[in-house]
Amino acid sequence: MSIEKREPPRIVATLAFRVGGSTNSTHIADAVAQIWSEAAFALTPIIGQEGVAALLKRSLHLSSSAHAWLSIAPPTVSKPIDLETLKSLIAGQTALEATAGSSALFLQFYGLLTTLIGPSLADRILESAWVDPSSGETAQDPSL
């Protein structure tokens, strides 16, 4: 899947911002889990928990070709992805690989979402998760 965008998607930028130059893989794993939860929080009301879980599973599968350690998708359809497992896998990598693999995962996820519903609507839905990546904060309520 080719993703051509001049700027990295906001989800990837947010990860880069929060991780900074961290060399601590556990810190990176926490940031990934946090960002994923924020994205899921924005998406779940609209597409349901199962829809979000399916997107994560597919993103992991797509990223695992370049980062084999990400192939943790459970074999059954109904079983959700265990975020703790994902965290421990990231924490087990070098900081460089953890960052590269996590960025690839988010890039695949964003690419998948935009392929399905288009970049405009994807950004519109996800914008409530991160108003501005440099703020480092989760948006509380964009309408306020």
């Binding site: 609209i46 349901g48 829809g51 399905l116 519903i117 288009g118 609507l121 519109r124």
Partner: protein, 499 residues
Amino acid sequence: MNAKVKINRLATGVPGLDEVLGGGLPEFSFNLVAGPPGCGKTTLAHQIMFALATPERPALYLTVLGEPPLKMLRYQQQFDFFDNEAINRSVRFVNLGDDTLEGNLDQVLNRIVAEVETYSPALVFIDSFRSVVLSGTSPADPPNDLQQFMQRLGMIMTSWQATTFLIGEYFTEIDTNPVFTVADGLIWLRQSVQRNSMVRKLEIMKLRGQATLPGLHSFRITNAGINVFPPASAALNTDQQNGADIVRIPMGVPRLDEMLGGGLPRGYSLLVAGPSGSGKSILATAFLAEGARLGENGVFAAFEQRRHRPRSGALMDLIESDRVGLVDTRAPDLSIDEVVVLLRTQIRRLKATRVVIDSLSGFELALAPTFREDFRESLLQLVSALSAEGVTVLLTSELEDRYSDLRFSPYGTAFLTDAIIVQRYIEVGSRLRRLMAVVKVRASDHSDELREYTINDSGICVGEMLPDQEGLLGGRPTRKHNADDTSQIAYLRKPAGNS
């Protein structure tokens, strides 16, 4: 004191639907959009939602089991009305799938109410409502549970001042379904399939508090969304001219106006019937060109049997300069109402006073088979609707020359038009020559002459009668036997029988 409640009617944003609904959708009504899969229920709901939703009047779209929301967003986005900017501003999608998977009706109701209380929407859509009912009912539920659920849902939604739409797959409308009983409005969508053609139809089976237009109304789904075609107005123009104050308009063909008694009365419909190549389209173009010359705009509706047939340069110039609007729909399976909407749009856009329909034969073929059965009735509707617009109409009709009988249209529709011109070929001196006659001009004197005419680069030239010939309508005239005519030559002796 007259303090009756006034019901606001919401403009649905679906072209033609408000007219069919009888003036829009009543505010706070509880409606069911029903029909079989693929008939356009979700599209109709989205189109109404995006048209009505504003930050002050937000909409909540609850998705339940059925079409996965990701796919719904993917496909609905293809329509022009889908506005990404509105999402999470004036339009909010909420998926109830997870909660309704194993719930009972009470749980479902509580979840819906919780969402409504959270967002205070003015518009609520539940898609698909049938999934709600199926997921919420179990064999253990008493049979009147659904009835109670519906009544409570209806009451809660109305008290929260939400105009509600339940979208559901229902196949038969004769079920004694409590959903139908409680609903204020029942919009039924259908796909009518006949042989290889499919026509979408919509019916307002019920709408409390207002008079809707009864019957099935055809609609079409394009990239712009749904377009409903309300019935062509059969109301006759009340300003029908009486004989004394007929205003006549020139046809653009010298001497033809004389034959019509001074031109064609304005607002009349004229049928030009003749065989292939007799110059019907040339006459029609002259009619429009004459209008343009006098500052009148026109509309040309092309229903040619062969597409891509080159049009005359004069007609193309008129179309390109927008003096004549072109209706040239290639859409399959047209309905008469759709054609009238297309014509009316052009007529009103250009304030046109002259309309040409070329030809009735092509028009009949363009209609969906289901409407061809009532072609005479359809034509009457078309002519009446155009008459109500106050335009003068010229219709061409391909008429195979049949010399054994005198017919003006293959449909038995000649009585529908106010005036008729017939064109024919005759054989004289081993040449095909053309004749034209005015058969009828309602409430007006007109010529009874059979005039020869020719067609050259400048158009139609009406010539003289052929007084030395007789039997012209038989196609093979003979020279009259005058006392001083010794030649006794008949141009062609008519053989026996010509059926």
